[in-house]
């Protein structure tokens, strides 16, 4: 982003809350609190150090008020942009800007959802659009299915290639003790599973789980004296193209093109420099679209790029090393969890799924129906 300084701020603490299926009666804000406490412990800070708060939720419209009430602190600066699942990537840029401007020094970004426990209908209010709702699209799946239909039509992408994304995610999940789905999965299984909105079957769609977490951001200066190696914010970029799928200008090109370009420009890096990609895979088609739009392959070649295990463990490019929203965890809005995984990979904390080279991570959030894209490039001290 123009005006934001490379490496002015860093992510210094990260933690998931409880994931999967949480204890009965646990609230979304309980999960934010859990994540916050664990993320602060991760970097050796405490609540009294925190003077910036960021939050977005599907289950609490005024989530930032709830977070302030629950944590009992009075931050100097807050943010609560709600762009769907990419909210947290937007918050990272906002927190970095606030820290650079001296508006706050230690910011916490939190998220929590109990959508599995309370049911999706309860967790996300249904919004009526008189130009779409009467046709009963099964949102968000049908919007992504429309995009997939167009990609298949223009570029010859196949259902098998979409399935490859789900299979790669499952293989990564099998290496992640925190992953929800670890059963073996084949391309054939994905093709044969229950159809949701053609061409997307249930295995092309993300999980429905509880979960949440928090990350802690501070200035690069302060980051140096904390417990863990900082993940410096090298680049940030945004691209919002629409809200409703009918208004998306071209269903095969997302705002990730603009968000990626802005993030690369700020980081003074390109896709070839990234050691890994943690992207928001709400549906298998996302991975293909975002790898193209972020420049990891040419437009239309995403299907071939994800095939033959190229994004699976031991493949050419590590993508979604936690198992993704498809197999690890998808608590309604997943964007915070990919930031956590990016930071852990940069630190070398990922055990069996640790990638060999881990200096630069592209983290890419998606919100709405391919609507709100935000990229964050993170790097180790070697990249400063």
């Amino acid at each position: 982003m123009d005006g934001l300084k490379r490496c002015a701020a860093a992510i210094v603490g990260v933690a998931e809350s409880d994931l999967g299926q949480v204890a009965e009666g646990m609230s979304p804000m309980d999960l934010v609190a859990q994540g916050t406490q664990r993320a602060l412990a991760d970097c050796g800070l405490s609540l009294k150090d925190v003077d910036g708060l960021f939050c977005a939720m599907t289950q609490q419209r005024m989530s930032i008020n709830g977070m302030i009430e629950y944590l009992g602190i009075h931050p100097k600066f807050i943010g609560s942009s709600m762009t769907g699942g990419s909210s947290f990537e937007f918050h990272v840029a906002q927190a970095a800007a606030a820290i650079e401007a001296g508006l706050c020094n230690v910011a916490v970004i939190g998220y929590g959802s109990t959508q599995r426990s309370v049911g999706r209908r309860q967790a996300s209010a249904r919004e009526v659009n008189p130009y779409e709702t009467p046709y009963n699209p099964f949102f968000p799946s049908s919007a992504y299915a429309l995009a997939a239909s167009r990609h298949m039509h223009e570029f010859g992408t196949t259902r098998e290639q979409l399935a490859e994304v789900a299979v790669a995610a499952r293989k990564w999940a099998q290496l992640n003790p925190a992953a929800w789905e670890k059963k073996p999965l084949t391309v054939e299984d994905v093709l044969k599973s229950r159809m949701i909105s053609h061409p997307l079957s249930v295995r092309d769609c993300c999980l429905v789980t509880d979960g949440g977490g928090a990350i802690v951001i501070t200035s690069a200066e302060r980051a140096k004296s904390l417990k863990k190696a900082p993940a410096y914010i090298l680049g940030c970029g945004h691209g919002i193209t629409h809200m409703n799928i009918t208004s998306m200008p071209d269903l095969t090109v997302t705002g990730a093109k603009a968000s990626g370009e802005a993030a690369y420009k700020m980081a003074q890096l390109g896709p070839k420099d990234c050691d890994m990609v943690q992207l928001y895979d709400a549906f298998t088609v996302n991975t293909i679209l975002f790898l193209e739009d972020l420049g990891f392959c040419k437009k239309g070649e995403g299907g071939a790029f994800v095939s033959n295990g190229n994004i699976a463990p031991k493949g050419g490019l590590p993508v979604n090393t936690n198992g993704g929203g498809l197999s690890y965890c998808h608590p309604g809005m997943y964007g915070l969890l990919i930031l956590i995984e990016g930071v852990r990979q940069l630190r070398g904390e990922c055990g069996a799924r640790q990638v060999a080279k881990h200096d630069i991570a592209m983290v890419h959030g998606n919100g709405g129906v391919l609507s709100a894209q935000a990229s964050v490039i993170l790097g180790t001290s070697a990249t400063v």
């Binding site: 699209p137 239909s149 061409p199 799928i245 269903l251």
Partner: protein
């Protein structure tokens, strides 16, 4: 300034009630605008003209929704010849046979009860 006496949605629906598919045209942008609104998203102009579509278009994207209960049905995005896109469905043909590029024509669907009429499409050749 007095309040507007009608809304973009009410004007759109009143056309459909007469069996007509209406859309807006922005002279400032020299292009069609959809969904109906007060400001042109390309120029910010508030001068939007209502026009009547010839009701012909092409399927831009398509999906078959498989509900947990009941039969699968089509949802499609249709590019109308006047240069606007809307969500709809293609009827009179099995949902999986609705293909991208299919030429379609408009007809009005009138739901039971109080719901407003909506545009649906059928294959042009039929």
């Amino acid at each position: 300034m007095p309040n507007d006496t009608t809304s973009p949605l009410a004007t759109y629906n009143s056309h459909l009630e007469k069996g007509v598919l209406a859309y807006q045209f922005s002279p400032a942008a020299n292009r069609a605008v959809f969904f109906p609104r007060l400001l042109c998203p390309y120029t910010g102009s508030d001068k939007l003209e209502w026009r009547v579509s010839k009701g012909r278009g092409t399927v831009y994207a398509t999906t078959v929704v498989h509900p947990a209960e009941g039969t699968p049905f089509n949802v499609a995005l249709i590019d109308c010849d006047e240069g606007f896109r809307l969500m709809s469905r293609v009827e009179d043909v099995p949902p999986e046979q609705v293909k991208i590029g299919l030429r379609v024509k408009f007809r009005v669907h009138r739901p039971d009860g109080d719901e407003a009429p909506i545009p649906v499409f059928t294959p042009e050749a039929a």
